[in-house]
């Protein structure tokens, strides 16, 4: 039986020079350490907070919270400040969580069973495949998790009116199952209350955290939304959202993140800081500091009109990243044409110019 060693050790028989790897490695560590520490001293690093052009001052390093949201003023397009803008945005969002029209409620897997919304190319939906295999791994019932459960846990035990409102609302129907589809979230009666209240809230006010709307048949909805706004402004809602099921501390704040991102203030801050997709936000995440510039391959495809405007933009970009950013790179040495680019664009002649010059002079 014979065996052929495909790639035996090879030895360079051309000109050599003295070299010590340990010396080179040590020198590199010293040089890089000096450079990095100097950069750290001179430039520091970002601790991104919530301040944005035109917005209220905010400490560095803060996170978006319900309290910040419900107490923050907002600024309109003309630069006019609205002291109750955050409270009104919060209240409006709470209503969309109850009626199932929020972005979270209509997202689909892995948060809920809302059908036909997962991104797909042709008939291929990887989110759908994952849903079939793993089920709903991060289930959310927006009405229960964001509104009814916190009110029931934080306010209802001490406030009979809110307790009664929660009971009345739940008694009117709607599903409180985790991950239920958006269209199962409310009953017809609840839909009637919420629709009327949504219209009224659009013309209402939220001075100092007190919601005022025109009289109407809203059922228990005004009591629920007012109570939710009050615990948000006091910080109690954050305490509820950042705890877990009541038995463990949480390191997984996905529910609160999804809730916060349903509001308008979330994207207002992001736009103000230049973080959105059309602002190359993925590479611009740390204010004036360099962000993840190496993600340019990921950011660029979103700016191709056919992809950026597609309903399946993320799936297209993800697929491109797998094909171009991973497979093509890995297999590049074996792909004719691609591997020959350096011969067509012979930069190696510059890199090895001294070697070639010396070789020619020797011969």
């Amino acid at each position: 039986m014979t065996r052929q060693r495909t790639h035996p050790l090879r030895h360079w028989t051309g000109p050599e020079r003295k070299y010590d790897l340990l010396f080179e490695g040590t020198a590199a560590v010293v040089i890089v350490s000096v450079l990095v520490v100097a950069a750290a001293i001179i430039f520091g690093s970002a601790d991104g907070g919530l301040s944005y052009p035109g917005g209220p001052p905010a400490k560095p390093g803060t996170a978006f919270t319900a309290k910040y949201w419900a107490t923050s003023p907002t600024v309109d397009d003309k630069g006019k400040s609205d002291p109750s803008g955050g409270a009104m945005d919060f209240a409006t969002t709470v209503v969309t969580e109850l009626d199932g029209s929020s972005a979270t409620a209509t997202y689909g897997p892995p948060f809920n069973n809302t059908a036909g919304v997962s991104q797909h190319i042709g008939r291929v939906s990887l989110a759908g495949v994952a849903h079939s295999v793993f089920g709903l791994t991060q289930p959310i019932n927006t009405a229960k998790d964001f509104v009814l459960a916190p009110l029931g846990a934080v306010v209802a035990p001490y406030d009979p009116a809110v307790s009664s409102a929660v009971r009345q609302y739940q008694g009117a129907g709607g599903s409180r199952l985790e991950g239920v589809a958006a269209d199962k979230l409310i009953s017809d009666q609840q839909a009637g209350w919420l629709k009327a209240y949504t219209a009224a809230l659009a013309k209402g006010t939220a001075d100092n955290g007190k919601l005022t709307v025109a009289p109407g048949d809203y059922g228990p909805v005004p009591t629920l939304v007012q109570a939710e706004l009050s615990i948000a402004r006091s910080g109690a809602l954050d305490g509820y959202l950042t705890s877990s099921s009541g038995t463990q501390l949480t390191t997984n704040p996905y529910k609160s993140t999804m809730f916060f991102s349903d509001g308008t203030l979330w994207s207002t801050i992001a736009t103000g800081q230049g973080l959105t997709g059309d602002q190359y936000g993925v590479m611009n995440e740390l204010w004036n500091y360099p962000g993840q510039f190496w993600l340019i391959l990921y950011a660029l495809p979103y700016h191709i009109p056919a992809i950026g405007t597609s309903a399946a933009a993320d799936l297209w970009v993800g697929t491109l990243i797998v094909i171009v950013g991973m497979l093509l790179q890995l297999a590049l040495p074996w792909i004719p044409g691609l591997r020959d680019i350096p011969r067509a664009l012979p930069l190696y002649k510059i890199i090895y110019r001294r070697y070639y010059r010396k070789s020619r002079s020797n011969t």
Binding site: E24, V32, S45, Y254, Q292
Partner: protein, 264 residues
């Protein structure tokens, strides 16, 4: 197994040609290491003269940056996820970690471009290129998970935005980018560990195969030992140990021109 006539190295107790055995695999592993990663390759005294270019320092600078990032990262991990928000020392270590990462990617990008334009995969070095690309991809994932555990608005927004791509690709069902705890363990243990492992293999490949010679000079790279030719049973291999421990230049091998196949 090697026969009686085989010369064994007294330090490693291997002839460099042991066969694999399920019950006693250690001799085979020793043989593999001695044959492929001899110390003269791991800690060489010379290098080809064409390597004397700034571009060839990008690899070691990337590695040095990685070391800075690992050390500062360990300090940050010991301090706790939120330490850097509340402590001046923590903020300073975070700054070192941050700029270390920037330097790491900058050096790695130049290293990758130089490797591409010098066609560093030539001469059986395709797997070296593959491990380099894998290291780059794992670095991106490691940096990404680091950005997701900042516990401030930045990480909140990045996670909320990134979830769409992850969910669209079906990955989001198991990799919840909004789960800070999951990102912490992925960053500190899983992706960093995998990256370290791949980088070790990458380095081993580079030490074993060396750097690809300039195009047109491939013939100056010759097989170093007799195992380049087909061998039958280990008993018939002439002096495998002598070949394994032969110092470069001490006994010049018979030059065997390597044809320039254009790529591999």
């Amino acid at each position: 197994m090697s026969g009686e006539s085989t010369v064994r190295d007294p330090v490693t107790n291997t002839a460099g040609d042991e066969s694999f055995s399920w019950t006693t695999p250690s001799p085979w592993v020793r043989s593999l290491l001695v044959r492929n990663l001899p110390l003269r390759r791991l800690l060489p005294d010379t290098e080809p003269s064409y390597v004397s270019s700034m571009l060839y320092t990008m690899g070691v600078l990337t590695l040095a940056s990685m070391l800075v990032v690992i050390i500062s990262g360990v300090v940050l991990a010991v301090g706790g996820v939120q330490w850097w928000h509340t402590s001046t020392l923590g903020a300073s270590v975070n700054s070192v970690h941050f700029w270390g990462v920037q330097a790491f990617f900058l050096f790695m990008a130049v290293h990758a471009l130089a490797s591409f334009f010098t066609m560093a995969w030539r001469g059986g070095r395709g797997f070296t290129w593959v491990t380099g690309v894998l290291a780059f991809l794992l670095s991106v994932v490691t940096a990404f998970t680091g950005f997701l555990m900042l516990t401030n608005w930045d990480s909140q927004y990045i996670a909320q935005q990134a979830k769409d791509a992850f969910n669209a690709m079906g990955i989001g069902a198991v990799w919840n980018v909004m789960d800070v705890g999951q990102q912490f363990t992925l960053h500190v243990v899983v992706t960093s560990g995998l990256l370290g492992f791949i980088v070790l293999i990458h380095l081993g490949q580079i030490r074993r195969r060396g750097v690809a010679p300039p195009p047109g000079a491939e013939h100056l790279e010759v097989a170093e030992d007799s195992s380049a030719t087909p061998v039958s049973t280990p008993r018939e291999v002439p002096e495998p140990l002598a070949a394994a421990v032969r110092r470069p230049g001490a006994q010049p091998p018979v030059p065997q021109p390597v044809p320039d196949r254009g790529s591999l």
